[in-house]
């Protein structure tokens, strides 16, 4: 189904009705398997048992970055292509992205305490991730500040595009600065440096996170469409013209 076909909210709702259970089921299976494998891999020679935090920490970091990128593309959809569901997609994604960013920071802090000896250090990767979380909160604050959804959508779209400058900074912070946080070890030109025993559950868990996001995002978009319908109907009822 093309992206343009989904511009019709009714078609989107029909698509969501089928796909939400599918993605939910996928998320349950993949996350269940990934986390179960994650708890059964042998402990790392250096990090010991704490390496299992990776199966939550790394996918949530990927999701937080990916969701902001999705919001930036949706912002272009709002401002340039005027796709009718672009702002619904952006609005529904923001709280989920903020939750993943928070999960990443939280699990990172819990991992940092035994490995680095501190819950938090002001290192480039951690700081830029915190900035990403703050940008998510700023986007949420701006959504809440305006009561007219169309206005809010365009204002948020401009802010989202400006804030996108931070996404490459988060990604490449470990290469540009010498950080305490380790450099990229999965997406590298010379192949992953993680042992396949750890890499396989990590990738399965990441796919599970992706499926979970898709299910939550589609459900949130559906709710937003229905919320706007209710709002429009109430305003019509209030103005007396049925």
């Amino acid at each position: 189904m093309a992206l343009l076909d989904l511009a019709n909210p009714n078609r989107f709702l029909a698509f969501a009705r089928v796909s939400i259970p599918v993605f939910s089921g996928l998320a349950a299976v993949l996350l269940g398997f990934g986390i179960w494998r994650g708890f059964n891999v042998p402990p790392d020679y250096q990090q010991g048992e704490t390496v299992r935090i990776m199966f939550i920490h790394v996918p949530s970091a990927w999701m937080a970055l990916g969701i902001y990128t999705l919001m930036a593309i949706s912002a272009l959809g709002t401002l340039v292509w005027r796709h009718p569901l672009a702002d619904v997609a952006a609005k529904a994604a923001a709280p989920i992205g903020a939750a993943f960013a928070f999960l990443c920071l939280l699990t990172g802090a819990l991992w940092g305490r035994p490995m680095w000896g501190a819950y938090w250090v002001w290192d480039a990767r951690l700081t830029s991730m915190l900035v990403l979380f703050l940008l998510y909160l700023g986007v949420l604050a701006l959504w809440r500040a305006m009561d007219e959804p169309g206005h809010a959508a365009r204002a948020v779209a401009v802010l989202t595009l400006v804030g996108f400058v931070n996404v490459p900074i988060v990604k490449f912070s470990v290469d540009w600065w010498s950080t305490l946080h380790q450099p990229a070890s999965v997406f590298r030109l010379d192949g992953p440096t993680i042992h396949p025993v750890l890499l396989t559950p990590l990738l399965i868990s990441a796919l599970g996170f992706l499926a979970l996001f898709l299910a939550l995002h589609l459900a949130a978009m559906r709710n937003e469409i229905l919320r706007r319908r209710v709002r429009t109907m109430r305003m019509l009822a209030a103005s007396g013209s049925h």
């Binding site: 500040a145 204002a155 401009v158 802010l159 804030g163």
Partner: protein
């Protein structure tokens, strides 16, 4: 084209410096903020001298953010924003002029006041010069990044705190390189030239991106 730039610039400067404009308010806030620091951390001059440049940078950041939300919302309230939109001059140019006027009225006084406040905090003379230079090069970045927030908040009845929340994350690089350049000048080991050039690059990028994004926001919100 330059006529429109000059006209908007002069108008905004006049509005800022005459009664009710609040151009001096930023500096007074800056002074008040620095004055409460010794009460919070104790009148320990060596400590104040060490954290002094960072405090001055923080003060400048907050003082700049404080009156950003008036740049466009005052014009919207009295209707002059509609007239500016009707004019043949491009909105980006008008936004640039308003940004420059705002920097001249609030940013430049902060740069001038910074060495005096630095002396009060016991910052050594060599660092004072570096501090003023970094503020001179870095505060335009704060103003022009803030321009985006000002444009986004122009349609809100009370945008003040929201502008600060939206813009503060974006100003972190300015703060990093501003503070890095100042401390490089005092202690090393990094050379002063690298962070100050990065700071200048951020300012130049903000000078381009700020007005374009602000104009886009205003245009989108006026539909």
């Amino acid at each position: 084209m330059t006529g429109a730039l000059r006209a908007v610039l002069m108008r905004d400067l006049k509005l800022a410096f005459r009664a009710g404009g609040g151009a001096g308010l930023g500096v007074v806030f800056f002074l008040a903020l620095i004055a409460v620091v010794p009460f919070a951390v104790g009148p320990d001059l060596p400590l104040l001298a060490r954290i002094g440049p960072a405090l001055v940078w923080l003060g400048a950041l907050l003082a700049t953010l404080l009156n950003l939300d008036r740049i466009f919302s005052a014009d919207r309230e009295d209707g002059s924003l509609d007239l500016l939109l009707l004019s043949p001059a491009p909105l980006e140019l008008i936004a640039t002029a308003k940004g420059i006027a705002h920097w001249l009225a609030t940013g430049l006084p902060l740069v001038i006041a910074a060495p005096i406040l630095g002396v009060m905090l016991g910052v050594e003379p060599k660092a004072l010069l570096a501090l003023s230079l970094t503020l001179l090069i870095g505060t335009p970045a704060l103003t022009f990044l803030g321009l985006i927030g000002a444009a986004l908040a122009a349609m809100l009845p009370r945008g003040g705190l929201l502008v600060a929340v939206l813009i503060l994350p974006l100003t972190i690089p300015v703060l990093i390189f501003g503070a890095a350049a100042t401390s490089a000048a005092v202690t090393g080991p990094m050379s002063f030239g690298v962070p100050i050039r990065l700071l200048a690059a951020i300012s130049l990028a903000a000078l381009v991106a700020g007005p374009v994004a602000a104009a886009a926001a205003i245009r989108q919100l006026r539909d």
